[in-house]
């Protein structure tokens, strides 16, 4: 098919930009490990409270792992457990969360921590809390009439 000369230039520019962009995203994802939260771990949604690690929601110090703390969160309409969390500044934390009922969102507003919680699945994400302050955890996926009430707070404090 015949293409106009200018169009060839335009398409070459566009497709090259696309390749560069996708390469950057790909290298960041698979070489530097910046993948979106994609855990493949399961839990019976009816027995969350009896299943490890959700028997003890909250922040736990761990040893011998790539992260210093594990933050275990259980979401259910319309709250997160625990509702108040204190994290020392600079802590590398693995967030482990699930839902007991419907689909919820888990977003720490003002950070890049943002994932979906779906019944039967455990969502995981590792992050470092490098700024002090108070952050809202909000449900950002519609879950019913109390959706806009569903929140928790994280305080990142100096050690």
């Amino acid at each position: 098919m015949h293409l106009h000369r200018y169009e060839k230039w335009w398409l070459t520019f566009g497709i090259s930009a696309l390749i560069i962009f996708l390469s950057i995203v790909g290298i960041q994802a698979f070489h530097q490990g910046h993948k979106p939260p994609s855990a493949k771990a399961f839990v019976d949604p009816e027995r969350v409270n009896e299943s490890e690690p959700f028997t003890k929601p909250g922040l736990h110090k761990v040893q011998g792992k790539e992260w210093d703390y594990e933050l275990v969160i259980v979401a259910a309409a319309f709250s997160f457990t625990p509702g108040e969390i204190e994290i020392p500044k600079g802590a590398k934390v693995k967030i482990i969360a699930t839902t007991k009922d419907v689909v919820h969102g888990f977003e720490i507003a003002g950070t890049n921590v943002n994932m979906m919680l779906e019944p039967g699945y455990i969502s995981e994400y590792v992050t470092t809390f490098s700024k002090t302050g108070e952050f809202l955890i909000i449900c950002n996926e519609y879950c019913g009439t109390g959706h806009h009430m569903m929140s928790a707070r994280i305080k990142v404090v100096e050690k």
Binding site: G14, L22, S38, A41, M115, Y142, G144
Partner: protein, 550 residues
């Protein structure tokens, strides 16, 4: 390509087309009012009376505008376009068009009735395991089945033309209608599968549980191609109609066809980019679909080139000089051009925002924040909707045997300015607020006076201002449409169909070899979905029973 005997759409086809378009504008009026109420509630200044639930009107807004307005308008426009370029519908095709219409209307009534009686407050994306009344799901099934019947009638009309004109490339507009109809049929298979095999049996109590991840995957298999189903009719107007309106020619027939084929191929195997932050899907499969999503940037760039090439060729033919002199020669006083043109301009930031949403990691910053709402109010609610308004300004009078008067032309331009200002306020503040982390699909809240949430409120007030201006825009468009349908003076209004520039190359017939394209499409879908989908079924957690949390 222009054929004198087809230059006016047959009266019987015009009636069919107008039936669809009328429902579209009724949906706009009701859904638009719901939109206004939402922005007012979320500004914190209004509480809904009579215990009406915010999420109920949100569901109505999404379903009526996202499915109602768009689908009815597109099918109405496509029927007129096929009839105009491939010849009057056969009586069988027309009958199918009416049957499709009636099935769709029955479905729409069921779904709307369930929403308005608060039995289906599950929003536009269903959100299993939230469980709506089965009539809601049944209504949406009928809406889709009806649309399949209508698309079948259009495709049959195209096939008839091909048989009568062997070896010739089909009329461009009919070709585009066929691509968009195929895209729709292939993508709605996902949502039809979700509703028929999962949600309906589950809401009727025939099965106890639902596999949530499978339901979401089937939904998004449909949910993203859907936006191209909205966009391609706007592209039809840009490629074929606008050149004629400004008095120019189509830059290249084969380029336009290639663009449509690329959209067909790369629109469907991309749904995972809506599910980037979900568990249960391997990160590498998400990345595959991110790459496939980005392929649609290529036909989008080709479209941008083609549009401006058309404008520049026209301007230079009129004696324009200098790098941008041709801009001055465009018909800036003709609403049929200006209104869709504003839509084209809005597509530049809209497309850029889309690239951010679909990006593997950047999505995490904006996922489910109100940024996304701002994004699709630029793409669909500005680019697509303004182009649909621009189409209405000649299509409705053409179909009803009236004319688009100067007074209406002026009002149409005021309408578009109103829309642009309203959307700049609303979508602009949604984008900014989303970057600060404010969630979408959420009623007014301060989360117990948290400072972060308090900082979001000024943006929500700006959204209410924008929403109010936009509602004024809806009142104006309804006034214009009523005028064009019932009150404008009788006369002849042209259905503009552009001709291809003399310098353009001959169209290669391979572009109409559907066996090739549909095979590639099927292969891409299988590559993108087979492994992760089987994984979802084989490694599934226990299913979820239904919840009614509203």
């Amino acid at each position: 390509m222009m054929n004198a005997q087809f230059s006016k759409v047959d009266k019987r086809d015009a009636k069919l087309s107008m039936a669809y378009i009328s429902v579209a504008f009724i949906a706009l009026a009701v859904g638009g009012l719901m939109g206004l109420l939402q922005t007012l509630v979320r500004s914190g200044k209004l509480e809904l009376p009579g215990g009406i639930n915010y999420y109920e009107i949100l569901t109505a807004h999404g379903v009526l505008l996202g499915l109602g307005l768009t689908t009815y308008f597109i099918l109405g426009f496509q029927f007129a376009a096929v009839s105009r370029t491939s010849g009057t519908l056969s009586s069988k095709a027309r009958l199918s068009g009416w049957i499709g219409f009636i099935v769709m209307v029955i479905g729409t009534i069921f779904a709307t009735w369930m929403i308005l009686t608060n039995k289906a407050t599950v929003l536009y994306t269903f959100y299993a395991p939230l469980q709506a009344h089965f009539l809601f799901y049944l209504g949406l099934t009928l809406l889709i089945v009806g649309s399949w019947i209508a698309c079948g009638a259009m495709i049959a009309t195209y096939i008839r033309w091909r048989k009568q004109n062997p070896g010739k490339p089909s009329p461009l507009l009919s070709f585009m209608v066929v691509v968009n109809s195929l895209l729709w049929i292939v993508c709605t298979l996902g949502v039809a599968g979700e509703v028929l095999f999962q949600l309906l049996p589950w809401s009727l109590g025939l099965v106890d549980t639902v596999n949530v991840l499978v339901s979401r995957t089937l939904f998004w298999y449909f949910g993203h191609p859907l936006v191209y189903f909205w966009l391609l009719p706007a592209y039809m107007a840009w490629y074929v109609i606008i050149p004629k309106i400004i008095g120019g020619k189509i830059f290249s027939d084969s380029l336009a066809r290639l663009v449509f084929i690329l959209f067909l191929l790369f629109s469907i195997p991309v749904g995972f980019h809506h599910q980037l932050t979900e568990p249960g899907i391997d990160a590498s499969w998400k990345f595959v679909q991110v790459v496939l999503t980005f392929m649609v940037i290529i036909p989008s760039l080709m479209t941008a080139f083609s549009m401006f090439a058309t404008f520049e060729m026209f301007g230079r033919a009129k004696g324009a000089t200098g790098l941008f002199g041709w801009l001055k020669k465009l018909p800036w006083k003709d609403a049929r051009f200006v209104v869709p043109f504003i839509g084209m301009v809005a597509f530049v930031p809209a497309g850029a925002g889309g690239i951010i949403n679909a990006s593997n990691q950047m999505d995490q910053v904006v996922h489910n924040t109100i940024w996304v709402t701002g994004h699709f109010h630029l793409t669909v609610a500005t680019t697509v909707v303004l182009t649909f308004f621009g189409i209405s300004y000649w299509l409705i009078p053409h179909l009803t045997g009236r004319v688009f008067t100067k007074a209406m032309n002026r009002l149409a331009i005021i309408q578009a300015v109103c829309w642009t200002i309203g959307m700049a306020f609303m979508s602009g503040s949604m984008h900014l607020e989303g970057l600060l982390g404010a969630p979408r699909r959420t009623a007014f809240t301060t989360y117990g006076n948290a400072q972060q949430a308090l900082d979001w409120i000024p943006y929500q007030v700006a959204q209410a201002i924008g929403g109010s201006i936009l509602f004024l825009g809806i009142v104006l468009i309804i006034v214009i449409v009523l005028n064009l349908a019932f009150f404008a003076p009788k006369g002849e209004q042209d259905f503009p169909v552009g001709e291809v520039a003399e310098s353009a190359e001959k169209t290669p017939m391979v572009l109409e070899n559907w066996k090739i394209w549909l095979t590639i499409l099927a292969a891409l879908i299988l590559i993108a979905y087979t492994v992760p989908f089987m994984d979802m079924i084989q490694n599934a957690p226990p299913g979820s029973k239904g919840f009614k949390l509203w």
